[in-house]
Symmetry: C2
């Protein structure tokens, strides 16, 4: 899928929801879809500003929210720091570096069957789950002295 395809898909999804295709949204989506660094809103802003010098941080936040609402991106909130965004939609796990906060993709996945009986989680109706790995990325590992 090249850049043209990506933009066509974006337009289609936006129109299906009564929203408009704009350069700003396209630039944000293009960047997010083509990277695996799971950037923060600020990082998206700095990067996208290379293509669209006039774009504002508020617009980046709004565009990201729009993409998440359309299912074209996921928001990764770990609270400790600012939210990160993921433009990949294939199944994968996230590993978060306890030292620098960077998110690394991990190919595997956890079968739902191995989780506790969903129906019987007290009076809670379980509809989904999320697994997050923690540890140290290649850049931070050498230190190895750090602990959580």
């Amino acid at each position: 899928m090249d850049s043209t395809d990506i933009e066509r898909d974006l337009r289609q999804v936006l129109e299906a929801r009564g929203q408009r295709y704009t350069e700003q949204r396209a630039a944000v989506y293009r960047f997010l879809h083509g990277t695996d660094v799971h950037p923060t809103a600020e990082e998206v802003f700095l990067r996208v500003r290379g293509d669209l010098p006039g774009i504002s941080l508020a617009t980046v936040y709004k565009s990201l929210e729009t993409l998440v609402g359309c299912g074209l991106a996921h928001k990764l909130s770990y609270g400790d720091t600012s939210a990160r965004y993921d433009g990949r939609t294939d199944p994968h796990l996230h590993a978060r570096c306890l030292s620098c906060g960077r998110i690394t993709d991990v190919p595997g996945r956890v079968p739902a069957a191995q989780l506790p009986p969903p129906a019987r989680a007290g009076h809670f109706r379980v509809t989904g789950y999320r697994v997050e790995l923690t540890g140290y990325c290649a850049q931070c590992d050498p230190g190895e002295a750090a602990e959580a």
Copy 2:
């Protein structure tokens, strides 16, 4: 373990780290340890103010951070809203209501053996993992119209 025991344990842990036992920390810990509602800092503040009318929100934040640092509590950050705190230390899962944000304890746990090969997560050294269930709590379920 009654209230007296809890306070003795707290004193011991604090002293082992060169920190002082105070009424404020004791009140926060007592409340957190005796509930399973996973309160936010604000909720802890409102509740503890019943015992200590003069306590400030900043002190609650500082006390919670101290307890987390001592391993006497866990901080649950889901980003969407404010952080929540857990004073229980026995193994259990957390189920988060997508409607109201409430956290419900679920007795089970996920064996590490069922996760993807830790050592081989790309160039990432995995040291731990976290599982979070999502769905709807008893109070929000009746609606059943809502979706994620």
